[in-house]
Assembly symmetry: C2
Homo-oligomer: 368 residues x 2
């Protein structure tokens, strides 16, 4: 089927973009990339941004050109999209389970350096068999539970034992450890966030101590989300940061800090003005996630997004906002970028308020 | 980029499907289609199912072959997918706003009978100019606010005046009215649901009375969601039902009634067993919506899905469920099918527990 959706040419006004659409201010996104990289350079910590946020090799290449050592990918399908887009250094900071995915993972090692997390000896055995069976090598890091209580080995004997299994497995290269302090990244209070994140990282470093004491070198100690970049990233021995959201900054993260600037909105059209105090938008749950709350209306004082359904958003409008009429376009800032981006196939990149380029979200839906 | 994701051949076991994946029991879905159609036939009410649920012309054709008079589509992009798949009768029960979308809408009238809802005279004027400008005709129905307080004119003068504008507009055919009693469809108590839905439908019918009293024939009186099919569908004068979710039945709707059977699950893989009481799945918010709550674990007593993040789901496991190991697959029933389906590109259709066919979700992401 031919896609008749209309993509405005470079130089067009934002208002020529049909809606719902994700609009990214590329200058702001690039400044965020530069800012995190400068932080890493100043602190001797590498940047390894997570592509689960942007899902686009275009943005991954911008991050690498700025100095990132590689890209994190949530799933093998996302990694395939990044490798196809020219990324040569991939870390999957998640478990890759099942023969289909493991076969695809190993195939990627022909084109890129592949590193994957593991927390289970049987899974390691399968990774080893797949890689060695075709004469390839992939890196494996142990995921350590640093307090989030999701995946990961407990620090101590279990972690060291798994490091040993990896070290001894043909086709695998033991690269080190990771720990995601996801339970701390959105803590609003800075001192509480710092205390929790440092506790988590000390847990990770205690695991490193045990592994090194057992005679295995730990080259990678990878961690961090956007909300803890300036805590985890200033701790000695942490080698690289996995931040994702910093590139666009969600509405939710902006409540944590404003170190990075918001670059992303969802453009919406008013499709109904049934009463003086109600305006209905064409942008509902199929174009914007609500897992961290309803979106914020940008630059329309008196307009508030108050309820959402699948295809509609209802705004209560007061004062000047009551001038909104059917056909008017407004920008919404989603509270959670990653899950909103996952609903779209394209970014509409703008600079200085004008269309710059359409960027495919090549990793969208590649959750296998 | 070549999509290396693995699609098992017909006859394969469900467990050969890689995850996360939407699995549809085609026999159950077809029985749901037949059941609603039989209800409509018995009550003299037409069925016009909503494709915003399934987003697939394959399922739309099954509904039409069973006797549906046409298909509802939420957006022009969804209608393009349905027309490309052979659907000849489309109702968009939403406002289509803006010149790009209106141009595409009118273009579809070359291949299908197109009917669209409207609640604004300027919008009607634009529809008229676009259709008459290329010598085509589209049907328009007035959306009436029946108490949901989203879009729609108030019944009475406003509604009758808009019907007159449509009737007098070149290129447009005034077909009638619609009213969506969306505020009533999920009311758990049956008598309360009935009272609310009947009140809403009487509001709609009062608008019909006014329009007919003004001398305009009302051929279409379209309404209903799945939860009110047997209330709205037994009222005199309602011509057709717009139900969508009945085809697969969400976890949420199953708490309203069990008139239709659940046909859809999301298949997930256990990727981590870090503790005896915790199992982590590869299926999070990017593969399953949570706007109506966390999913239900199907047929694994002792396992409960307790928290979700973007790429992971955490289950607490007790008793026999503690036997789950890394690599095991389980089925989850999402609470909301429509927003879950919107995250996927394919259905894995099964019959009697074996792979039958892969069905593209052609309307996914076509929200413009």
């Amino acid at each position: 089927m031919v896609d008749l959706q209309y993509f405005p040419l470079p130089g067009a006004s934002i208002n020529e973009i049909d809606t719902p659409a994700i609009v990214v201010d590329l200058d702001v996104a690039e400044a965020n990339i530069a800012r995190l990289q400068a932080f890493g350079d100043a602190n001797g910590t590498s940047i390894r941004p997570h592509s689960k946020t942007h899902k686009s090799p275009v943005f991954a290449r911008k991050q690498i050109e700025a100095g990132a050592i590689g890209i994190c990918c949530a799933k093998v399908g996302e990694a395939e999209a990044m490798v196809a887009g020219g990324v040569k250094n991939i870390l999957i900071p998640n478990q890759v389970v099942g023969s289909t995915k493991i076969t695809r993972l190993v195939a990627l090692a022909s084109e890129a350096n592949i590193v994957v997390a593991a927390d289970d000896p049987d899974n390691v055995e399968q990774l080893s068999a797949a890689a060695s069976g075709v004469g390839k090598e992939i890196g494996v890091i142990v995921e350590v539970n640093v307090g989030m209580n999701r995946c990961g080995t407990e620090p101590g004997e279990d972690t060291t034992a798994l490091a040993r299994v990896i070290t001894d497995s043909p086709g695998l290269r033991f690269d080190g450890v990771m720990g995601y302090e996801g339970h701390t990244v959105a803590v609003r209070d800075e001192s509480e966030r710092r205390a929790n994140a440092e506790l988590a990282m000390n847990t990770l470093l205690s695991a490193v101590d045990s592994i090194e004491a057992a005679g295995m070198p730990v080259n990678v100690i990878s961690a961090s989300g956007t909300g803890t970049y300036n805590i985890t990233g200033t701790m000695d021995r942490i080698t690289d940061l996995q931040c994702g959201s910093y590139i666009f900054m969600d509405g939710d993260y902006l409540e944590v800090f404003q170190d990075f600037k918001p670059a992303l909105t969802v453009l919406a059209t008013v499709i109904s003005r049934p009463t003086s105090d109600r305006a209905v938008l064409d942008t509902g749950m199929k174009a914007m996630s609500i897992d961290r709350g309803l979106p914020i209306v940008v630059d329309v004082p008196g307009a508030q997004y108050t309820s959402i359904s699948e295809e509609h958003g209802v705004m209560v409008v007061e004062g000047d906002a009551q001038r909104l009429k059917v056909g008017d376009k407004i920008q919404l800032r989603p509270m959670h970028g990653d899950t909103t981006i996952n609903l779209h196939s394209h970014y509409f990149g703008v600079r200085n308020g004008k269309m710059d380029s359409v960027i495919e979200i090549a990793g969208r839906g590649r959750f296998r």
